[in-house]
Symmetry: C2
Subunit: 676 residues, 2 copies
């Protein structure tokens, strides 16, 4: 791994307070020293990086024992718990407790990654692009060289290798990951304890959630002895303490232009909320039809609710005139700096946005969101076509370096619930018809004149795509097998494929190419102003954030830096135990045994966002003091801009996890393993 | 008592939801029946009225036992606790616990009133006013007839008799009160338990305050056997329950014109905050000089902080454009209705406002707020002059019917702290000088060219007004004694008196007369629209409000209808026991003995405001289920308009009081007395 000991430039950072999702090659050394008198050693950084784990289905985690124990959030584990549950054994509802190695259960399709090295490949990527070529050609060239780098690296090292675009195309880095795919579930609390307070308390603080779950990584059927892991702090986070979060923030939009933000505010986010709201109603209707249906839909409903609340918060933030005014000012400064060098990437992006608006409804409503079967069908049809092309010409997700992980997900034995699939697909089809009209090519291909409900019934009833072996046989059989296949969903996906490809090509050539290349120009302007004294937008790659454990003022009173088990029982009693504030039996029973003053959750000023779920919070010694699981409602605007007045990251306290393991769940061996 | 069984008119009420501070002659029978299916009997109403008690220094309470036990808030009792405390025995800090009748301690100057009858005297008051006379003359006539009615009633019945102006002069009622002046302190918790969370948590909910105190009324040295008292509900308030509050809301401004509200928003409230903020700083400076000084200033600082937070909340409400827009719409409707009958009282009030603005700074800054000695001096100088006049020509506060209560307060043996007096008076003088300049007649008379601090020192050092006997001798000695007196503060007050009288006469003749008489015109317009299907602004007279026990949504989550003792210990632990979130020793010690799930505080939709503190919350059976002690921050705008989205009244739960008496304070006899 190559890291630079200091920033590339001594220029003043444009960040405020504890802002920043810093790459591990460029930690904010100057800020840390100035604000906190802290100077991390290279080993400190390496230790934290190598202990950090990416959950590829969208979260973070960390190694917390010498025997490969991995700790993340319950809600990151939820997808796996759900896939492993049946009508008879509901691990989501009842929790899961392996009291010996033999009881640890292998997850169907969970992949963990550890970032073993990072290398700057900016020169090679940009060197492969002809600056005089058209936008479309340059975009193709850029992608081709990225694909070549990834393939070479995978072949040479055996590691999963991703070229990551940072600073809107200002830098390109090769990230190499060690992959783990034999991951076994060790322990998860009941969903009601983990997600206490349900959707109302989501993004809320004060909070009282045991949002944690333990896995163990295996290789060759034996627990992994990880290169590094985090030592447990039994006393955990304290008020005012300097803490770090090492995790994988999914995406932020802090470097978007004002025009792009306006598009988000006025078009994209309202449209997305429309889709989520509609899908929520469909899932709810389905869940109402029975207890088993309710169980099946639970994971999806959680995801949709979470999305609805998060996006509403972001939208509210964007509608705040003060925020937009700040963005406009920042952009003006940047534009002035760029103007001196000629060129106007902002105008180029604005022109692309005008085009985008015209086809935005298609981009939004030509989707089958939450339908697993439609997803399988589309992926398989494209898969067999794409892999025939040279690696660098393929869609990104079908490049050689990505196929192993893709297969792992695509051939997963996780159950597919056909009745729920039918309900979801019918809703997708009806919504597309409603929003795009019967003449839209996607709608025509998808419905073929049939009514949405009837079409969904026919497709789902007839397909065998719920069988992972069937999916595998199609991929293995290649284009010929898929072309010859008469499974109704494959036939249907073949019809949809040209429509999909046309829109995607348009989007890549007309929009993405402009935004990426113009973004590169803007990044250059930013470099000329700030050097590398700032950090790139989040990209679901490993980042370091710093901050302090701190409450805040709200509604003229003070919100404490932490909560305790007393508060959990208060909230339950305050609502007379009504859902979603009831207590699971084990928690109710443990009331007398617990030290109720033990810290349960706490808040910090760290700069995080979705994808950071499950990230470790460590102190200056690098010890594990907490587990990130949420941001408060005021932090949602963080997608666009950081502030530390009320925005807080919310974490489970390490002392609270220990107390729960021992006194609620009787998992003493696990607690002992944590304490080493 | 005369009451009307139905509203005067069947017209639709302009109130919303559970709105209204209804007079006991006009309960909202139609609304109660429609919304809650509840029809109060006359005896139900009489029982509640006769059990209700007014604390004349600004609060409410109720008889809760056959032996004259009176329950109110700790913060209503605070003034008396403070006056009864010394450096050696600090009942504010340590609480007070009488464990037998002999330990009950008489309060220095606490007067309680019970409303024994109400009588409509509108015709007589308005009949005494010549409609053709000038505003000034009409105002004098109006006051004269009110004074006559009061005097006659007092002479005839022996009761304290007040003519109350309702509906901005639309109605006048004679209220007769039974007075109690031998009030003894029975029990008060530690201030830190009663006012848990201090100023930050004031007007906040969720809340965890034991804000209660018990007194006992005596007559002829024996406990009073009150005509009526409220039965205690051991289980107390429940979610969704219909509840009533019977108490004495101090003042609201819901019938003010838009022009008057604008004046409040732009001139009066900001000015008032300015004064409070400055006085706060002076008190704080003083309190910092020692532990005993801190104790002496505590009550005053509490009052100022409370005022600052309340007024800030009101101001924020008035600055809400939506609220003002609603007020403008309502006024338009009223004005259209009034226009048909000719006359434009709104224009008259607007003209008075223009005049008001010119002398507003004098009205604001010619004051000695929080200086007890300056208050005594001014009152005594005016007292002896006023009582020489015929009763009906006097300032309201010196009418015969008011003198007994005035003497009670004026000759109170409560301590006066000269060092604190000096600090406060110096600040008053400096502020007047700063805001009004050295040429203002008040400033000239008050300072006589001296510096504020020196003047305050000279006045306070030389005066004997801290001695209640001296004050009494001056009043008894009358005008001659006061004229001959060479006490420096009396000499000084004589010099200030003409300046005071000039401003007060101007204010009464030019502003009050117009506002009162024009208000009467507006009230007529309201009657023509709504009949008596509405209620008058609050006037610190007995009112009935109704509502339900209900949580609310806030910040996308749910706020529970109640809190429990669990929450109290959570909040203390969450702040690591730091002030103002620390626990008094008795509370800390009781942790293991308490049933922590016992309800502590709860919220209702009842329409209340300052003055309602200490009001009983009763259920439909008339049983005592809670004790009003606050409104949440969202309720502060209630001064101008009621809404029930988030605005809530906050109460101590009757089960929580019982649990605290038994398990924290060991007051089992008191608990038994409550349960009869």
């Amino acid at each position: 791994m190559k890291t630079k000991k200091t920033s590339l430039s001594g220029k003043a950072s444009p960040t405020v307070g504890d802002e920043g999702m810093w790459t591990f090659d460029n930690p904010p050394r100057a800020i840390l020293k100035r604000r906190y008198g802290f100077e991390p050693s290279q080993d400190w950084l390496d230790h934290l990086r190598l202990s950090s784990v990416r959950f590829n289905d969208g979260g973070s985690g960390a190694f917390v024992s010498a025997d490969g124990l991995v700790l993340t959030n319950h809600h990151v584990a939820l997808g796996q718990l759900h896939k492993m549950s049946t009508k008879e054994a509901d691990y989501v509802k009842d929790g899961f407790f392996a009291r010996s190695a033999s009881e640890e259960r292998r997850c169907p399709d969970l992949e963990l990654n550890v970032l073993v090295s990072l290398e700057d490949v900016t020169k090679r990527v940009l060197g492969g692009v002809d600056p005089k070529a058209s936008d479309k050609t340059r975009n193709e060239q850029r992608k081709a060289v990225m694909a070549r780098i990834e393939k070479e690296s995978t072949e040479k090292t055996g590691y999963r290798s991703d070229v990551v675009e940072l600073y809107q195309g200002g830098e390109y880095w090769l990230y190499r990951y060690k992959k783990y795919t034999d991951i076994r579930l060790v322990m998860a609390p009941e969903a009601q304890a983990a997600f206490y307070g349900g959707d109302p308390d989501n993004f809320t603080y004060p909070r009282y959630d045991l949002d944690f779950a333990f896995f163990r990584a295996y290789e060759n059927d034996a627990p992994v002895r990880p290169q590094r892991y985090l030592r447990w702090s039994a006393s955990g986070a304290k008020e005012g303490q300097l803490v770090f979060v090492s995790g994988h923030p999914g995406s932020t939009d802090r470097l978007k232009t004002v025009r792009q933000l306006e598009f988000e505010r006025d078009q994209h986010l309202p449209g997305y909320l429309n889709i989520l709201g509609r899908r929520r109603r469909a899932l709810e209707e389905y869940a109402k039809t029975g207890t088993e249906q309710e169980r099946r839909a639970k994971d999806a409903i959680f995801g949709v609710d979470n999305g609805l609340k998060a996006i509403s918060g972001e939208l509210e933030g964007l509608r705040e005139p003060a925020l937009m005014a700040r963005m406009i000012e920042q952009e003006k400064a940047l534009r002035r700096a760029a103007a001196k060098k000629g060129g106007d990437p902002w105008a180029a992006i604005a022109r692309a946005q005008v085009k985008m608006v015209k086809r935005h409804k298609q981009l939004l409503y030509r989707n089958f969101m939450l339908s697993k079967l439609a997803g399988f069908a589309g992926t398989i049809v494209r898969y067999v076509e794409e892999v025939k092309k040279p690696n660098e010409k393929r869609f990104k997700e079908f490049r050689d370096s990505a196929l192993e992980s893709l297969n792992f997900r695509l051939f997963s034995p996780a159950p597919v619930y056909k009745d729920m699939e039918e309900a979801v697909l019918a809703d997708c089809l009806a919504h597309s018809l409603e929003e795009l009209g019967p003449k839209d090519p996607h709608v025509k291909a998808a419905l073929g004149g049939a009514a949405p409900a009837a079409k969904a019934r026919q497709l789902v009833a007839g397909t065998k795509l719920d069988d992972p072996k069937f999916r595998e046989s199609l991929v293995k059989g290649g284009a010929a097998a898929v072309a010859a296949c008469d499974d109704p969903m494959i036939v249907w996906a073949r019809k949809l494929d040209p429509v999909y490809r046309e829109l995607r090509a348009w989007s890549e050539d007309e929009i993405e190419s402009v935004e990426s290349l113009a973004g590169n120009e803007i990044a250059k302007a930013r470099f000329s102003l700030y050097g590398k004294s700032t950090y790139p937008d989040a990209t679901f790659t490993l980042r370091l954030s710093f901050g302090r454990v701190a409450g805040y003022e709200q509604g003229t009173t003070q919100v404490p830096h932490k909560t305790t088990f007393f508060g959990l029982y208060d909230r339950a009693a305050s609502f007379d135990g009504k859902p979603p504030f009831h207590l699971p039996e084990k928690v109710e029973r443990a009331k007398g045994a617990l030290d109720l003053s033990t810290p349960l959750n706490f808040v910090t000023t760290n700069d995080i966002i979705g994808g950071n779920s499950g990230s470790p919070v460590v102190d200056a010694k690098g010890e594990y003091v907490g587990l990130i699981f949420d941001g408060n409602i005021q932090s949602l605007v963080g997608r666009y801009a950081y502030d530390d007045v009320q925005s807080r990251a919310v974490a489970v306290h390490s002392a609270g996890i220990l107390e729960a393991l021992r006194r609620i769940y009787g998992m003493d061996a696990l607690a002992s393993e944590l304490l080493g």
